[in-house]
């Protein structure tokens, strides 16, 4: 076989290869890896540009290679939280730190507790701040932050009961987008009220914790506090959802059963029971309950869809073993 450089096919192929390569080169030159964004983020923090650093760390969460493990994602979230703290965005700082801890419990250390306490202090959540400083001292008595903790605890905090309504309002404002931060506001409001009173802030706290996926704390709250009469149904529903989050189906069923028949949430509670019984393997009972769900918003459609799936005949075997 003879090589013919003048062959126009080869020349054409060479030209196209050249164009494709240049095109790809330009694309790749602008693409940055996740950890390069981290590098940039820290460089921006050093230059005292925390707002831009937040952007860099947030881009790191989206850029390839995406964090594969929960630990890596947690690490990136904590960088964002640090940048938020430096930018004075304390609510975002709390949210990011809490999400980081939710993903990886190993993140809890004296540094995390220090930043949490500082953010709470800046937001005026003084009860929670004091609790956090105490926890830090207990967690690591040799920590370099202990001196600051003592200093903060020595200061007298001025609290006003008038602030409770403000705290709840602020929590409700944050509930949809930043549930972990909202839970801090509700918890502060709950702590500031006398312990023997029933309070709606505890109900909202349970809602926020469930939304944030912090089910273990939600269990503690539902076992500690009592809801006001008019929010009892909502409370039982939240308790049930907490147990569902922890896959404790029997406890969840018990909670859902407490929802009164007259409640507007009765349909939800019955449907939740169906799911629990189904997951407990009590299929027949679940199916019988499913028939009794009252017409209730678009939940009825969900229930019907679920029924169709449960009753669907066995699919044909697809696996050839």
């Amino acid at each position: 076989m003879t090589f013919k450089p003048e062959s126009r096919y080869l020349a054409e192929a060479g030209r196209w290869l050249c164009i494709a390569t240049i095109y790809l080169s330009v694309g790749t030159a602008f693409a940055q890896s996740s950890f390069q964004h981290v590098k940039n983020g820290f460089a921006l923090l050093e230059k005292s540009k925390p707002t831009k650093a937040i952007e860099a760390f947030e881009q790191a969460l989206e850029a390839p290679p995406k964090p594969k493990t929960a630990s890596e994602k947690s690490e990136l979230l904590s960088y964002t939280a640090l940048a938020c703290f430096k930018a004075g965005r304390y609510v975002d700082c709390l949210e990011h730190f809490d999400r980081a801890v939710q993903l990886d419990e190993q993140m809890v250390d004296s540094t995390y507790l220090f930043y949490r306490a500082q953010a709470l202090r800046a937001l005026g959540l003084r009860r929670l701040e004091r609790n956090t400083w105490h926890y830090l001292k207990k967690w690591d008595p040799q920590s370099r932050f202990v001196k600051l903790a003592d200093e903060a605890l020595a200061q007298k905090a001025t609290e006003s009961t008038d602030e409770i309504a403000l705290l709840i309002d602020e929590g409700l404002r944050l509930l949809d987008d930043l549930p972990a931060a909202a839970s801090a506001f509700f918890y502060e409001a709950t702590l500031r009220q006398p312990s023997n009173t029933t309070m709606d802030s505890a109900v909202y706290l349970a809602v926020a914790l469930n939304k944030a996926g912090n089910f273990n704390s939600a269990v503690t709250i539902t076992q500690t506090y009592k809801p006001p009469k008019d929010l009892e149904d909502l409370w039982h529903l939240q308790t049930g959802l907490t147990y569902m989050g922890l896959n404790k189906w029997v406890d969840a069923t018990t909670a859902f059963k407490r929802v009164a028949k007259s409640s507007p949430h009765y349909g939800d509670a019955t449907y939740a029971q169906v799911l629990c019984h189904h997951n407990l393997g009590e299929r027949e009972f679940a199916t019988s309950l499913l028939k009794n769900i009252p017409q209730h918003g678009d939940l009825k459609n969900t229930a019907d869809a679920f029924k169709r799936i449960v009753n669907k005949s066995e699919p044909k075997p697809r696996l050839n073993l």
């Binding site: 890896s33 590098k39 820290f42 930043y115």
Partner: protein, 260 residues
């Protein structure tokens, strides 16, 4: 002359020069883009530097301030109720996924069980080729459910016992203490006992003990050495010598029957 050749070669390949260079540049840029950046310990150092700056002093205590107009609590409760429906829908999706996973798991389990039974049936069919009532005592049970029979099966062959474990593999139940003869001697034994064309078909059961130091017990289980399939067609107590007509056990169609 040589220079001329080189010059010509360069001239011939110069159209590939630009794509080549561009490709090399692409590789460099790609490797740069894939650069993992600072390693974990370096990131840790950068983190610590920032923490050190903050660890010096406490922030100014803030005050709870109204950021937005007061929120109607009734609206909030309504919204929370709607959120519950969202959460339940999510739970439904999870449950449906669970159902589908369980179905696939059950299918796999059923198929595995079916395969096991088929394998078991094949294993059962095997000794029928050497079925000889004088030498082989088959004591297996015939039950309606073959799967339940797996662990109970025992085939006693001239002093050696071969069983089938729960996974369907053949196992030897012969005590390891008696296995003293080496593999080599067993091979030579087989050679000497190999049937010839003249001899009457005989089932030779290899019951020789195996080297106890050898770890691979599954291979060393006493195996049944049979002469060619003619064995099945000739009862051992028969005086009739095998003929060429009996070479194929399939001719009479009965030789493979385990009940023969």
């Amino acid at each position: 002359m040589t220079r001329k050749i080189i010059t010509r070669k360069i001239a011939r390949t110069q159209h590939l020069l630009l794509p080549g260079l561009a490709f090399a540049a692409l590789l460099c840029l790609h490797s740069e883009a894939q650069n993992p950046g600072p390693a974990r310990h370096v990131r840790g150092q950068l983190w610590q530097q920032q923490v050190n700056l903050d660890a010096e002093q406490l922030v100014q205590p803030g005050k709870v301030q109204r950021q937005a107009p007061a929120i109607n609590r009734q609206d909030v409760r309504k919204r929370i109720g709607q959120d519950i429906q969202k959460q339940l829908k999510q739970q439904t999706r999870n449950s449906v996924k669970q159902i589908q996973r369980n179905r696939i798991k059950n299918l796999i389990r059923d198929r595995s069980r079916q395969n096991l039974v088929q394998q078991q049936q094949r294993v059962r069919a095997t000794p029928s080729k050497t079925d000889n009532k004088n030498q082989i005592d088959t004591t297996r049970k015939q039950t309606s459910d073959p799967a339940s029979d797996i662990s109970q099966r025992r085939i006693s062959i001239a002093g050696a016992e071969t069983g089938v474990d729960s996974t369907g593999n053949k196992v030897s139940t012969q005590p390891a203490v008696t296995r003293t003869i080496t593999k080599l001697s067993r091979k030579s034994m087989r050679k000497t006992m190999a049937p010839t064309a003249d001899t009457a078909p005989v089932v030779t059961v290899d019951t020789q003990p195996i080297d106890s130091n050898d770890n691979d017990r599954t291979i060393k289980t006493p195996t049944i050495q049979t002469s060619p399939p003619i064995v099945d067609t000739q009862p051992i107590d028969s005086d009739i010598q095998p003929t060429d007509d009996t070479l194929s056990p399939m001719r009479d169609g009965s030789s493979l029957s385990p009940t023969r």
